[in-house]
């Protein structure tokens, strides 16, 4: 029986706690970005850090993403462990050259002599009514770049545990924060130490035997909702939360699909050239003889991210997921 009452905490608060604990544990950890100091970040994830650790540890930088990441590279070269905040998904694009040409390659370029333990936090995805350039799902770009880890939490506890692991990693990590889950709540005990989650392990969020929904980040709660709704149709859906897109947990995903024999990949990112194509291929390569139907994808449309008043038509929702599940060749069973 617990003696301390569990309190609801938001994902944003869990991220703040992870940053604060990391900074307290390791003086090499430096937070930097636009508005992260006095303001505490536009999503308040760095709230209070400048006050607690000083502006040298939590620094408001000039407004230039390539410069932010480029100087973070130099700081990491000197032994610091920078945690960079990119204000929004689409604002991270100016930093792509530093990310792709240097952050992702420096360890390899120097045969391990110069690793870059940099965490790049990127709020991503839609569903918050953001105007243009504030709702992109940019994970496919990062996944396509060898040398980066790509991590994204879907729960409050994972937000803490995965961010701690990302900051502790000696490799660069692109840490994708689902914007619309920032204010999602979960109960946890803020007095107790929270668990650090290993990078590269998927987790089964809901067990089921009819089909597997493979998803991550902002689409995890949508898939869980779809799984509940699917019960009315007689489908018992399993939901796998990937948590890490690089490295990819083939074992957990394949084990689930071998159990259920059917799979749908769900994400907000566009389908063409998106993560779902890679995931479907990997599942097919590993589970071909267990599959009762082709692996389907429910993705965002292949369009520039829509204006906020139309975004609900773009984002994968419960109905679209259930429609896909319905197309998994159930006739063969009857």
């Amino acid at each position: 029986m617990t003696t301390v009452a569990l309190k609801p905490a938001t994902m944003a608060q869990a991220l703040t706690r992870a940053l604060r604990d990391a900074m307290a544990d390791d003086p090499a950890v430096h937070v930097m970005g636009e508005d992260v100091g006095t303001l505490g970040g536009v999503f308040r994830v760095t709230d209070g850090l400048a006050k607690e650790f000083g502006e040298d540890r939590c620094t408001d930088t000039p407004l230039a993403e390539a410069g932010i990441l480029g100087t973070a590279v130099g700081m990491a070269m000197y032994g610091l462990r920078p945690v960079v905040e990119m204000q929004f998904d689409a604002f991270a694009y100016p930093a792509f050259e530093q990310l792709i040409s240097h952050v992702a390659r420096m360890r390899n370029r120097t045969r391990g002599a110069m690793p870059l333990p940099i965490t790049i936090r990127v709020p991503y995805g839609g569903g918050i009514g953001g105007v243009e350039h504030h709702s992109d799902s940019s994970e496919a770009y990062y996944m396509a770049t060898p040398g980066l880890h790509v991590v994204t939490p879907a729960t409050v506890a994972d937000a803490y545990g995965l961010l701690r692991a990302s900051i502790a990693s000696d490799d660069p990590v692109v840490f994708l924060e689902p914007k619309r889950l920032y204010w999602s709540k979960d109960s946890w005990n803020p007095e107790e130490p929270q668990a650090v989650q290993p990078i590269g392990r998927a987790v089964v969020r809901r067990t089921g035997r009819s089909a597997t929904l493979i998803t991550y980040g902002p689409s995890v709660p949508v898939c869980l909702e779809a799984a509940e709704a699917a019960q009315a149709e007689g489908w018992d859906l399993e939901v796998v939360d990937l948590r890490s897109l690089v490295p990819f947990d083939d074992d957990t995903v394949a084990a689930s699909v071998r159990r259920t024999g059917r799979a749908v990949v769900v994400h907000e990112s566009g389908g063409y050239g998106g993560p779902g194509g890679e995931i479907a291929a990997r599942v097919t390569e590993r589970c071909f003889h267990h599959l009762e139907a082709p692996v389907l994808r429910v993705a965002g449309f292949d369009i520039p991210y829509p204006p906020p008043m139309l975004e609900r038509h773009h984002l994968p929702g419960v109905d679209r997921i259930l429609d896909a599940v319905g197309r998994l060749q159930w006739e063969a069973e009857s």
């Binding site: 040298d56 410069g67 100087t71 590279v73 530093q98 120097t110 045969r111 002599a113 690793p115 990693s169």
Partner: protein
């Protein structure tokens, strides 16, 4: 009450504070003409030992450029971007730094790395093509040679800033070309350096061309050194073929940074005597007469003239410098003519601290291919 009637409540007889001039730009402005030492009264102030040291390094550097270019013709280097004509900048940039300082070279600056003490074979690894960086950057505090233009500049700023945060007495000196000053990373690095007052020195070697494009198509600035003023740091303009002048200006900038006074942008006006690389044809974009004009302003000739005129070096001294350069070239030639020993499995060794499961699979695939290859080879040779 109308707005006009309210006016007295908010009308300011003086402009708001944000209208006041914030920094006096005058002290930041570069000289109108490149600063020179050799052939001027200032030369007498320079330590003769430094002049002789610079001379020996320039002669060695010229020979290094010639040898590396020759190695491309023998197929021992994939490509070589020469700094013939720019040796004064390359050498001075290395000599003004203390051991604890850091040098951030571009792909053209292998000579600066060598002058800082790096083994030439290691410095040329990228250009030979056996790996991307042939040295541990921490050993001589030389960052990896950087190919994407100007992207190493924010690294230098970040490193210098980190050293300052840790309380270490470290200056970073970053090299870039005239073409690189058009890149966004140049701008962002200058801005971050000045805002943070980072102990960093930027040396722009204005060698006249970005491959084929002349400076006039690159910028409309009064000079590249003038760009410093916009960032709030001093700009210095120096004759890049005058080794004593470059050494003095860079030395001052390093001392300025070390004293906590922040960054400096130095533009050294020089000329790329050779083509962009061995693969380039410079006759398509410039005439011989222009090159001849610059040959007459050769950095080695300028310094040799100063030394001999003032009796600071004799024929034996000159010969000794040339002999040392020949010995370096012979050693480089001999070692570069040996085939590097490569292990293809290294391709997977350093992508991450630990290979991902996916890379482990791919590594196994390559290993199997190599074993099959070796087996076929063994059968083919009857062993």
């Amino acid at each position: 009450m109308t707005v006009m009637e309210q006016r007295g409540a908010y009308y300011r007889p003086t402009p708001p504070p944000a209208w006041q001039p914030r920094t006096d730009p005058a002290p930041l402005l570069p000289d109108a003409r490149p600063y020179r030492v050799l052939g001027t009264d200032a030369a007498a102030e320079v330590d003769p030992a430094l002049l002789r040291r610079l001379y020996a390094e320039l002669v060695r550097g010229r020979r290094y450029n010639a040898q590396a270019t020759a190695l491309t013709k023998q197929g021992r280097l994939a490509v070589y971007p020469s700094t013939t004509g720019q040796e004064a900048c390359e050498v001075a940039a290395a000599l003004v730094l203390e051991e604890r300082d850091w040098l951030f070279p571009s792909y053209r600056d292998t000579l600066a790395a060598v002058a800082r003490g790096l083994d030439p074979v290691q410095a040329l690894t990228l250009l030979r093509g056996d790996w991307h960086t042939g040295y541990d950057p921490h050993e001589h505090r030389v960052a990896p040679l950087c190919t994407p233009l100007a992207t190493q500049l924010p690294h230098a700023v970040g490193l210098a800033h980190a050293a300052r945060l840790k309380g270490d007495d470290v200056v970073a000196l970053a090299l870039v070309g005239d073409g690189g000053t058009s890149e966004g990373d140049f701008h962002e690095a200058m801005n971050f350096a000045a805002v943070w007052q980072a102990p960093v020195v930027f040396l722009v070697q204005n060698n006249g061309f970005a491959i084929s494009v002349p400076l006039a198509k690159q910028t409309a600035a009064p000079s590249l050194a003038h760009k410093a003023v916009g960032y709030g740091m001093p700009g210095r303009l120096v004759d890049g073929n005058d080794a004593a002048a470059v050494h003095e200006v860079l030395g001052d900038a390093v001392a300025h940074a070390r004293a906590g006074n922040g960054p400096t942008l130095v533009e050294a006006v020089t000329y790329r005597i050779d083509a962009h690389t061995n693969a380039d044809d410079a006759t398509r974009y410039r005439g011989d007469s222009e090159v001849d004009t610059w040959r007459a302003h050769d950095p080695i000739a300028l310094l040799e003239h100063e030394l001999t005129e003032r009796g600071l070096i004799d024929a034996d001294g000159i010969q000794a410098a040339r002999d040392a350069a020949e010995a370096m070239a012979a050693d480089l030639r001999e070692r570069m003519n040996q085939d590097p020993q490569l292990d293809p499995m290294d391709l997977f060794a350093h992508v991450y601290a630990e290979p991902t499961p996916q890379l482990r699979e791919q590594r196994a695939l390559l290993r199997a291919e190599l074993e099959a290859e070796a087996e076929a080879h063994a059968e083919g040779t009857g062993r």
